[in-house]
């Protein structure tokens, strides 16, 4: 079965960060984008905003990267999740994820990744602009992109992923114009 995933309509995202607030509130009980499993990167130069979130890759590189076998694909939706009790916060998955969708917030000893809230993601109803829905399939969002090379720090990796999406949208606009 195809793994489920959030569907991302990049052109509709306005960078209001409501998804980050919903995510951190529902998962942690407070408002803190640093603890959100979804991260919106603003590509100011091109006026494009790119939500970065786990898209549940068919071949998920985070799973074999984990020395503690804390990352599993075990839900009915075919999604990937981190078993917090097994995670040692070693950071291998952060490096392995080609999109920058996994992170370890400061002061926390566990890696964070979207688990689709078990099928009803809190971020989807929080998005008033129609940028997020949960009808999608794995890999769809970032698939046509060149994967960012490994060894980048997380902000830079996210930036490169967002930049590639923005450039693709930008090119489409050039063609239109």
């Amino acid at each position: 079965m195809e793994p489920a995933s959030l569907t991302l309509e990049f052109a509709r995202c306005t960078a209001c960060m409501a998804c980050e607030l919903a995510c951190s509130f529902y998962k942690e009980g407070f408002f803190a984008p640093a603890f959100s499993r979804i991260k919106v990167v603003q590509v100011y130069e091109l006026g494009v905003n790119v939500p970065i979130v786990c898209v549940n890759c068919r071949e998920a590189p985070c799973i074999p990267s984990c020395p503690s076998e804390a990352i599993v694909r075990d839900g009915p939706l075919g999604t990937v999740r981190i078993v917090a009790e097994l995670c040692s916060a070693c950071g291998e998955c952060v490096e392995a994820c080609p999109y920058g969708a996994v992170h370890i917030p400061a002061g926390r000893e566990v890696a964070l990744m979207c688990d689709l809230c078990g099928g009803q993601p809190a971020c989807v109803p929080a998005c008033l602009y129609g940028a997020l829905s949960c009808a999608g399939q794995a890999d769809a969002a970032y698939a046509p992109l060149e994967l960012a090379p490994g060894g980048l720090d997380l902000p830079e990796k996210r930036w490169q992923v967002a930049g590639a999406v923005a450039a693709r949208l930008g090119e489409a606009r050039e063609v239109e114009a």
Partner: protein
């Protein structure tokens, strides 16, 4: 660090000594002054003594984040920036959107108070509790976009939020701005010059903490409900579709479109400046939100034929296309995009820049100045290239004439003399925003008593037009009768202004965009107070909220009293009080001095201020619990 909403934390920065230190604001102060603009106004009153040079080290640049900024409350990401204005010599509050305020709060800071002057160009780097004053030598002289990019590179994180001055702020242009989160201008009253006078080029912020409200579930649910209500409002939909410039066709039709330095109220072809035109012709390529906003009125645009230069940048607001477009007699979409980009890049207020140029155009066309005086600028209405050239010259103070315009309209008119003050669209030394106050009496009163000068950005009495059911209900709530939802009436205007002042102040103290509370009304005193109650975990009602707004307005008045401002300073530009609306449905209307005097008597009386001087009475201050803070200014 995950913090509660109260107490709050102040970051103090003394640039002269190169020292920074933290300070706590206890919960009872937040209940009293609310946060944001409220706490910042109190700090400004306490820390900036009367009579100091606004461009000297004694002035303070204060950043106040909203008490609910950083939460999911709708459109709650706005930040107040305060100082003593170098344009007016009076109180200045500027409100800015974007993401700066939220980032500051996540970094663990609710307010920043910057005093002194760095000996060398510097920037402030706030990364959670680590605060550094860093050298900014190579950044000095550069435009705001380039500095934003370089800071993000130097700091290794593109999520850093910035506040930056351009060449105009460095050169202390009296209407220079601070550009925040790249797209958002904190622009009025010369706040950029104050930052420039401190040798402070930029502030960069990154925060990885968060905020915990006392009663999480009810807070989240109510805020979410308000967000959805707001999104359904027709005004909000229009702002999303077309931005603030979506009102151009309506203004033109109603004969309320400021054109050619307020000598006309309609302009042929003005629809070329509208948000509808930007959308239909695909100049518009993206919409941007401020933090936690459910409206997304900001535009991202491109030029199409690049007639005046290539643009791929944030789009112009309504006031920008009026000031730099219709007021200069220019109906040219491409020119508006370029002029907007220039102001953002150079760091200048588009409202004042447009109006000082439109004043110069009228002065030139009337023959009071010629091309010798203007260093070769043919300042005629309808000349895009002249506007673009003038903007550059002003920012760099290039040539004597541009140097004069950099002082603002009041000083320029004083220098040119003759009758040129009659078409200087300013009061208190601030250029009026492109809003005609002649046919709307609460607007006229609100503009006259505005502590920073005549504009719609301290109080806006939109409801007096009664354009929606909600607006008419607001008027009934204030006055007891919907019939007062009529902008031509003078009755009940003081009540209407005061209610809006309180709501506007409270909105800004909590971080709300005033579009949500005084244009749309989905954010109202009742639900704002309820959110505060859930956030603080203590009972907090509408009356306390409104009282917080009232205190703010009173502290602001006291600041100006201490600077010597009196009733005679509460005036409108000469043209607004002496020349009748020349055409259209409002032809012949005027708010003249006798009418304004009547409105002012009502207003001061209602506030408990002395009518002859406009100074708050001691008993008024006492009843607001402000005698200790502001007693030195009492009548």
């Amino acid at each position: 660090m995950i913090r509660p909403i109260a107490p709050q934390r102040i970051l103090n920065v003394d640039l002269t000594r190169g020292e920074t230190w933290a300070e706590v604001v206890p919960q009872e102060e937040i209940v009293k002054h609310l946060g944001g603009r409220g706490i910042a106004a109190k700090l400004l009153y306490q820390r900036v003594p009367g009579g100091i040079d606004p461009l000297g080290p004694e002035n303070a640049l204060i950043i106040g984040t909203g008490a609910l900024t950083g939460t999911n409350a709708p459109s709650s990401g706005r930040t107040s920036m305060l100082c003593k204005s170098p344009a007016t010599g009076l109180y200045l509050k500027v409100s800015v959107g974007g993401h700066l305020g939220a980032e500051l709060r996540f970094a663990g800071w609710d307010h920043v108070v910057i005093t002194g002057r760095s000996s060398e160009p510097a920037y402030l780097w706030i990364r959670d509790d680590q605060v550094e004053i860093r050298p900014a030598g190579p950044l000095w002289g550069q435009g705001t976009r380039a500095v934003d990019a370089r800071l993000k590179e130097e700091l290794g994180d593109r999520a850093v939020q910035t506040a930056i001055i351009g060449p105009a702020g460095e050169n202390r242009v009296l209407f220079s701005a601070i550009l925040c989160s790249r797209y958002n201008g904190a622009s009025r009253g010369g706040i950029g010059a104050v930052m420039g006078s401190k040798n402070l080029k930029a502030i960069a912020v990154r925060g990885e903490g968060g905020l915990r409200v006392a009663q999480g579930e009810p807070f989240y649910r109510l805020a979410d409900h308000m967000r959805h209500e707001l999104a359904k409002d027709p005004g909000t939909e229009s702002l999303y579709d077309w931005g603030t410039a979506g009102s151009i066709p309506g203004l033109n039709e109603m004969g309320m479109l400021a054109a050619r330095n307020f000598s006309q109220v309609t302009l042929e072809g003005a629809e070329l400046l509208s948000g509808q035109h930007l959308q239909e012709h695909e100049y518009l390529i993206g919409r941007e939100s401020c933090f936690s906003c459910s409206t997304a009125c900001h535009r991202f645009v491109r030029s199409l034929d690049h007639r005046w230069g290539k643009v791929l940048d944030s789009g112009p607001e309504l006031e920008t296309v009026l000031a730099l477009g219709s007021e200069c007699g220019i109906v040219d979409t491409e020119s508006a995009l370029v002029a907007n980009r220039l102001c953002n890049e150079l760091g200048m207020d588009t409202i004042s820049a447009g109006h000082v140029i439109s004043w110069a155009m009228e002065t030139f066309e009337r023959g009071l100045i010629d091309a010798v005086v203007t260093d070769g600028l043919e300042l005629r209405f309808g000349s895009p290239q002249v506007v673009h050239e003038a903007l550059e010259r002003i920012a760099y103070r290039r040539g004597d004439f541009a140097n004069l315009l950099a002082q603002g309209t009041r000083r320029a008119a004083a220098a040119v003399g003759q009758d040129s003050h009659r078409w200087a669209i300013e009061a208190k030394g601030l250029e009026q925003s492109a809003v005609d106050t002649r046919m709307a009496k609460a607007y006229a009163l609100a503009f006259a008593v505005n502590p920073r000068g005549p504009d719609h950005l301290m109080t806006e009495t939109f409801a007096e037009f009664g354009l929606s059911k909600e607006a008419r209900e607001v008027i009934r709530k204030i006055t007891g009768d919907e019939k007062y939802a009529d902008p031509h009436l003078t009755d009940k205007r003081a009540e209407i202004v005061r209610w809006h002042e309180d709501v506007y102040g409270a909105s800004e103290a909590l971080g709300f965009c005033v579009f949500t509370s005084t244009a749309a009304f989905a954010v109202n005193p009742e639900n704002m107070a309820q959110l505060m109650s859930y956030a603080l975990g203590t009972p907090f009602d509408e009356e306390q909220l409104m009282l917080g707004g009232r205190r703010m307005v009173t502290v602001e008045r006291c600041f100006n009293v201490r600077e010597g401002a009196r009733r005679t300073d509460d005036r409108l530009p000469w043209r607004m009080m002496n020349e009748r609306v020349p055409a259209g449905p409002n032809q012949g209307m005027i708010t003249d001095q006798p009418m304004l005097d009547g409105l002012l008597d009502q207003y001061y009386g209602m506030h408990g201020w002395d009518s002859a001087t406009a100074i708050p009475r001691a008993e008024t201050l006492e009843s607001l619990g402000l005698l200790e803070l502001c007693g030195d200014a009492a009548a």
